[in-house]
């Protein structure tokens, strides 16, 4: 039991009130800690991509194609954002995600991806059977702490799934 119950209630009420003030009672809920979604909407969004066919393929001229590349392109269109593609290996991209240089990361990531301390993984948007017969849950990476962006992307992926 910490301090008194009374103090906790007071502190709780004060913190919620402070949170409301800081967030200005406007904008999406949940909100981004760095405003990535607001920045991307009608602006640019940085997407890290790792070659991993059929999910992501990067041609020598820098064009990014593949299942996930198409999904992200459609998502960016839905929020009127222009994509800045950043190619790289998973570990390099994960570090850049943590540093806040990228908004989204793709390349056939599964729910078992080891980058959870640097990258927020979305809810699986589809399940596939791997070559060895195990099922893989396909996810994308989102800049951690950017929960508005995460909810927005997850909702988009849900809708795509429903259309298919």
């Amino acid at each position: 039991m910490l301090v008194s119950a009374h103090h906790i209630v007071r502190a709780a009420a004060a913190s919620v009130a402070a949170a409301l003030l800081v967030s200005g009672c406007s904008g999406p809920f949940p909100a981004d800690s760095q405003g990535s979604l607001a920045h991307a909407t009608g602006g640019t969004i940085s997407v890290g991509a790792t070659t991993n066919p059929p999910w992501t393929e990067i041609s020598p001229d820098g064009a990014v194609t593949g299942v996930e590349a198409d999904l992200v392109t459609d998502y960016a269109e839905s929020i009127d954002a222009e994509i800045t593609w950043v190619p790289g290996s998973e570990s390099v991209l994960a570090d850049r995600m943590k540093d806040g240089e990228l908004d989204i990361m793709i390349g056939g990531l599964t729910s078992k991806a080891p980058w959870t301390d640097k990258v927020a993984l979305t809810r699986p948007y589809t399940t596939v059977r791997g070559e060895d017969g195990t099922t893989e849950k396909m996810v994308m990476g989102v800049r951690p702490g950017e929960n508005a962006l995460m909810v927005s992307l997850e909702t988009f992926l849900d809708d795509q799934d429903a259309e298919r």
Binding site: M1, L2, A5, I8, V9, A12, S15, V16, A19, L20, V22, S23, F29, P30, A31, D32, S33, G35, T116, D117, A120, L121, T122, R123, V142, P144, G145, E146, N147, A148, M150, V151, E154, T155, D158
Partner: protein, 330 residues
Amino acid sequence: MSPTVQSETAAVSGHDALPHDVQQVLHQAIRLEWITIGVMVVTIAAVGLVTGQSQAMKAAWAEDMLTLLPPLAFLIAARRLRKAPDRDHPYGHHRSIGVAHLVAALALLAMGTFLVVDSVMSLVKVEKPPIGTMALFGHAVWAGWPMIIVMALSGIAPVILGRKKLPLAEKLHDKVLFADADMNKADWTTAIATIVGVLGIGFGLWWFDAAAALVVSISILRDGFKNLRAAIGGLTDTRARTVDDKEPHPLTRDVETRALATPWVAQAVGRVRDEGHVFHVEMFVVPRHGKAPSLDQLVQLRTALLDLDWRLHDVVIAPVPAIPQIPARD
């Protein structure tokens, strides 16, 4: 039963050491502890389903699991207590309460330390907790809402159970039950801290979560320290204290007062230690004019002390020529 026919082992022990109405209380407490375990298992499952990557939720989940320890310790000790004393266990098995208390306290302390370090690390390393959506009945809802609802619900039952257990712990003079009831009663503060943490994430304030987790883990740590002190105090034969450990137990004074009221007693100093539920009394008496008391007088005094309270379970009278001064601390 007259004291003269009792063996050299600690009178009767096991459940027989408790009078009928106190046994009734013990049974009630055992039933409440089983209910607590049932409620906590359901809570742990529900919280586990919605936990996600929130640090505060993880801490709350760990605390919920730790809440199982004191009831388990109590139930194991209550079972052990049924055994009667024998040649190898001349004092009976009351001390199992103290051992249970120590084990539960150490577990709280270890887990509290781990969680404090973990929360501070996630603050230092700027780990921003992601909370995305959750598919609920075909709809995508922000996963923070189910967390908040589950935490709010999880805070209710323990508070009710804690309030019911507290008076039983006092009647039974059971420190494990007391610690358990005390933790249960404070459980809603954990729920509120966690909800504030999750709401903070919702408002884009990532550090709210780790800060809330820190609050929860410090409360676990404090519970651990408080209980460890009490448990070690009991096991190292400090003067018997009240069930909340706030002051020396009034019976420690009452036995001396009663002994002094005996005409042949000039001076009386008692050593009263807490065996768990019951007290063990060694009463040193200096007879008037250095005249040795008769066996009858000794037996009468022992019976008088035993009759004071059921907690005074095991009383030894030692006539001595003089009593050395023991410095008093409180």
